[in-house]
């Protein structure tokens, strides 16, 4: 328990906004900021932002008052690297937009343009306490008859689960290692070769190459150059320790800001990752040698990385479109295997916001920040806890989804003995 600091609003609450204001009384607030955890604390939300955070706040006239009764309030959770709003249904080509199969390297490909904020999965995920997530492209190999992708899967964004279309931040996603050797002519060594050529093309916009020699379109060169210049983080999906070292060396040479996704063996390279200040977005459930790149997979990956000083966030085995809500269970498992509880919560909130450069808006509860927060029935990392109230931009989210409607329809039938 840190000192219970009293924060006063830096923003002025205008009187006409009071009608929209909400006062959450008596919460245990995990701010995931330097303020730490504040007991018996009130949160005043106005104009969609956290207006004040202190004990025994005065309720503005007309404010809606919710008594948390000591319950835990956290920032809204990060859903990991996902296909939310990009894949309405698996295995259906007409309902999937996360994978580019033009057989050409196209860093300019941006999945944000396909994002559907009305996907049924958004409300389901939000009910699980997730309020923001990365949406990412995925590279797939082609076949004899059909082209596939390349080691640069494309660009992704961060989305808020508020039903809106806004996207935040940019990131470029790359697939490295044995999973992607089919995207690089059969050898992972060629992944560095191809990337080096793409960088060379991007840095020499006037370079003229025969069409069969060049990797990038003019727009692709421009996009890649923007990222080289710092437009967003490069996220490398890579597992093997030796490959992570090569990626680190490449990034150091090219002076890139990168993150590792997956990173089954990242713990074996933890000191180098810490020294390079490279965060790892782990699948905390990965403990089997699913491939020869993941012989070192262990449930202690997150804990070992953290001990070495590496920032850790969470994602799932492959980008989830439907069971994104499972992300907090994966963080709970990391805690069971040695990751400190507050570090795990930060990995679901502030750390991913920092990785994607949006920590000024997402990932912590502080005066002036957008009021994206969740009140929990218990420990938010525990599988028997549920998100009781979810606020996005200060608005209480409805407790409805396609799943709740199905449940309501059939619960009565089962009770009446007519579910047949």
């Amino acid at each position: 328990m840190k000192r219970a600091l009293v924060f006063l609003a830096l923003v002025v609450v205008s009187s006409d906004a009071a009608a929209d204001s909400v006062l959450i009384r008596n919460a245990t607030v995990h701010t995931v900021s330097t303020a730490g955890t504040l007991e018996n604390t009130d949160i005043l939300i106005a104009d969609g932002v956290v207006a004040a955070l202190a004990r025994a706040l005065e309720a503005p006239a007309g404010a809606r008052i919710i008594d948390a009764n000591g319950r835990v309030v956290t920032p809204g959770l990060f859903g990991g690297l996902t296909h939310l709003g990009l894949e309405e249904i698996g295995l259906e080509p007409t309902a999937e937009d996360a994978t580019l199969k033009l057989g050409a390297m196209r860093p300019e490909f941006d999945v944000a343009l396909a994002f559907n904020p009305e996907s049924t999965s958004i409300a389901v995920t939000r009910l699980g306490g997730v309020t923001f997530a990365a949406i990412v492209p995925t590279a797939e190999a082609g076949s004899a008859n059909a082209p596939g992708g390349t080691i640069i899967a494309g660009q992704g964004s961060v989305i808020a689960l508020d039903g809106g279309v806004s996207t935040y931040s940019r990131a470029l996603y790359l697939d490295f290692g044995s999973d992607s050797s089919a995207l690089s002519g059969g050898s992972r060594a060629a992944q560095y070769m191809l990337l080096a050529q793409a960088f060379a093309e991007a840095r020499s916009p006037t370079l003229v190459l025969a069409q069969d020699q060049r990797l990038l379109t003019p727009l692709g060169r421009q996009t890649l150059l923007e990222f080289i210049g710092g437009a967003g983080v490069f996220v490398f999906d890579v597992d093997r320790a030796a490959d992570i070292r090569q990626v680190l060396a490449f990034a150091q040479r090219e002076k890139l800001r990168i993150a590792i996704a997956g990173g089954a063996e990242a713990w074996r390279v933890a000191p180098e990752l810490a020294a390079a200040k490279v965060p790892v977005i782990v699948d905390a459930l990965e403990d089997l040698p699913g491939s020869f790149d993941a012989i070192g997979a262990t449930l202690e990956n997150a804990a070992r990385l953290n001990r070495a000083g590496v920032k850790v966030s969470f994602t799932q085995e492959s980008p989830e479109s439907h069971n994104v809500r499972k992300i907090r269970q994966t963080a709970g498992v990391a805690v069971t295997y040695g990751l400190p509880w507050d570090v795990a919560l930060a990995g679901l909130t502030r750390i991913p916001a920092e990785i994607f450069g949006i920590a000024d808006r997402f990932g912590s509860i502080e005066p002036g920040r957008r009021a994206n927060l969740v009140m929990w029935s218990g420990d938010p990392l525990e599988v028997t806890s549920v998100a009781e109230q979810v606020f996005i931009d200060g608005r209480l989210q409805p407790k409805r989804s396609r799943q709740t409607e199905l449940k309501d329809r059939y619960l009565e039938r089962v009770r009446a003995g007519t579910a047949r």
């Binding site: 389901v124 403990d287 089997l288 202690e300 439907h322 269970q329 549920v386 579910a419």
Partner: protein, 474 residues
């Protein structure tokens, strides 16, 4: 017994004589009975648990798997069996006594849907042994002949408390082949893991998978109606096979020396055994309407379905399933990964359980999920409670123990902590329905197979000598 007929072939007579070769003056009936035994139970289990010293747990919270919770209770294991449960049990002289105050004891967990060994880690092409996807009907194949006992996933499942599991062929085919029930013990051969006396299963699959696998190659089936026609044609043949064999038996019994034995067919052996109830039918089926079709088909051909697996829409027909005594194997929260799973809801398991007589089973179909079935059940329990259903831990544990044992036809031997049953027992460091719960000890037939304190779980040969293995110091 449907499979004994092959004892009539001359070829197997000669094998019988070899087997019986040591006996003095082998008589024909003796040789025949040896053949019959081998034919009825080829590839027999060689699993024989070592002698287990008596073990007494003191003062645990016990979930018996029969729906009971016993607080501050002792559990005594003797000779690999559950001996007794109660307060202040006297310790046998040579008993290992384990203080279990604050710990929880449950039956060993059972997963009715696993592909460990047939789709092992690492998932390299050479290990792709789970789907004989070369014909929509491969009732002749046996999953056990694909099982790689060195799959590191077995150990991880053990650390998750799984003591028995059904290994199934995949779902590419309408009828994918026979399953096998294994005990989760280390062994060089799968026979050394084979659950003694457990019936095999017959894996069948509804819906999208078979029609996609074959339809996309312009082969039969390419539609759901094709799927059903495909199964029915097989049952018709199996019925004829049974009829022909009964006819042959009748002729032999009547002294007809010219009676010709029915030519043995491995595919029809499996199907006939399923019709006769010696092999249990396990059908992968997501949608409620398709499950209802399969129930009608089972009635048409006179067999029983043991369980529907994946059953995303089981809640829509929870009462129908209960009335047919069919179990539903389900995930806690998977949905939407294909069209037929679009209507999956997190209350599915709780609603199937809520129907009077319902048999809800939490299954994994996943090398990750099988490691934390307790957490899957905890999520399902929580969703059920939110919907207003009263589900205490002693109820939820049945989804992982007694109910899967019932679906596999082994409830008389394991699945609950009742005197006389196999001492398949898990000791948890706390309430198992928590993300923070860890398993301290796993007993299989009274033998400690996993002990968290010793930090040396059994390791697969594959993990030996791997410099990157997690045991190495960072």
């Amino acid at each position: 017994m449907p499979i004994n007929h092959i004892s009539q072939t001359w070829h197997l007579w000669s094998i019988a004589l070899l087997i019986a070769g040591c006996a003095t003056q082998p008589s024909a009936p003796d040789a025949a009975s040896v053949v019959a035994a081998a034919a009825a139970n080829p590839y027999p289990s060689t699993y024989q648990p070592q002698a287990a010293p008596p073990t007494l747990f003191r003062g645990a919270t016990v979930l018996t798997g029969t729906g009971q919770r016993l607080d501050d209770s002792d559990v005594l294991l003797v000779d690999g069996r559950i001996e007794s449960i109660g307060r202040s049990l006297p310790a046998p002289a040579d008993a290992r006594v384990i203080e279990a105050k604050g710990r929880w004891i449950t039956p060993g967990l059972i997963d009715i849907h696993s592909h460990l060994g047939v789709y092992p880690s690492p998932s390299v092409r050479a290990h792709n042994d789970g789907n004989e996807a070369t014909d929509p009907v491969t009732a002749n194949v046996w999953a056990e002949h694909s099982v790689w006992p060195q799959d590191p996933g077995f150990t991880m499942a053990l650390i998750g408390g799984v003591t028995s599991m059904q290994i199934l062929p995949g779902s590419a085919n309408l009828i994918g082949g026979r399953s096998v029930v294994l005990k989760n013990v280390p062994s060089v051969t799968y026979q050394g893991m084979k659950f003694p006396g457990a019936p095999q299963g017959l894996k069948m699959a509804c819906g999208e998978n078979p029609k996609r696998v074959y339809g996309s190659n312009k082969k039969f089936p390419s539609t759901r109606m094709g799927n059903v026609a495909g199964y029915r044609a097989q049952w018709v043949e199996a019925q004829e096979y049974l009829r022909d064999r009964a006819e042959y038996d009748r002729k032999v019994a009547a002294g007809d020396k010219d009676a010709k034995p029915v030519k043995r067919d491995l595919r029809l052996d499996s199907l006939a055994a399923a019709l006769e109830g010696d092999i249990l039918v396990h059908q992968h089926c997501y949608r409620a309407d398709e499950m209802a079709i399969v129930l009608d088909m089972a009635e048409e051909f006179g067999y029983k379905v043991a369980a529907f697996h994946h059953a995303s829409e089981a809640y829509k027909i929870a009462n129908l399933l209960a009335e047919h005594h069919v179990c539903g194997g389900m995930w806690a929260d998977w949905w939407g990964f294909k069209m037929e799973s679009f209507d999956g809801i997190p209350e599915n398991i709780a609603l199937v359980d809520e129907a009077p007589g319902g048999c809800a089973v939490v299954h994994s179909d996943s090398s990750e999920g099988i490691q934390r079935l307790n957490q899957e059940a905890a999520k399902a329990m929580t969703s059920g409670r939110l919907a207003g259903l009263d589900i205490p831990p002693e109820r939820a544990i049945t989804w992982l123990t007694a109910n899967p044992a019932r679906a596999l036809g082994i409830l008389d031997r394991t699945g609950t902590l009742e005197p006389g049953k196999m001492a398949d027992v898990v000791v948890w460091n706390r309430d198992p329905f928590s993300v923070y719960a860890l398993i301290d000890l796993v007993f299989i037939d009274g033998i400690v197979q996993y002990d968290r304190a010793s930090l040396t779980p059994p390791r697969s040969d594959f993990m030996l000598g791997q410099p990157a293995a997690p045991g190495a110091t960072p």
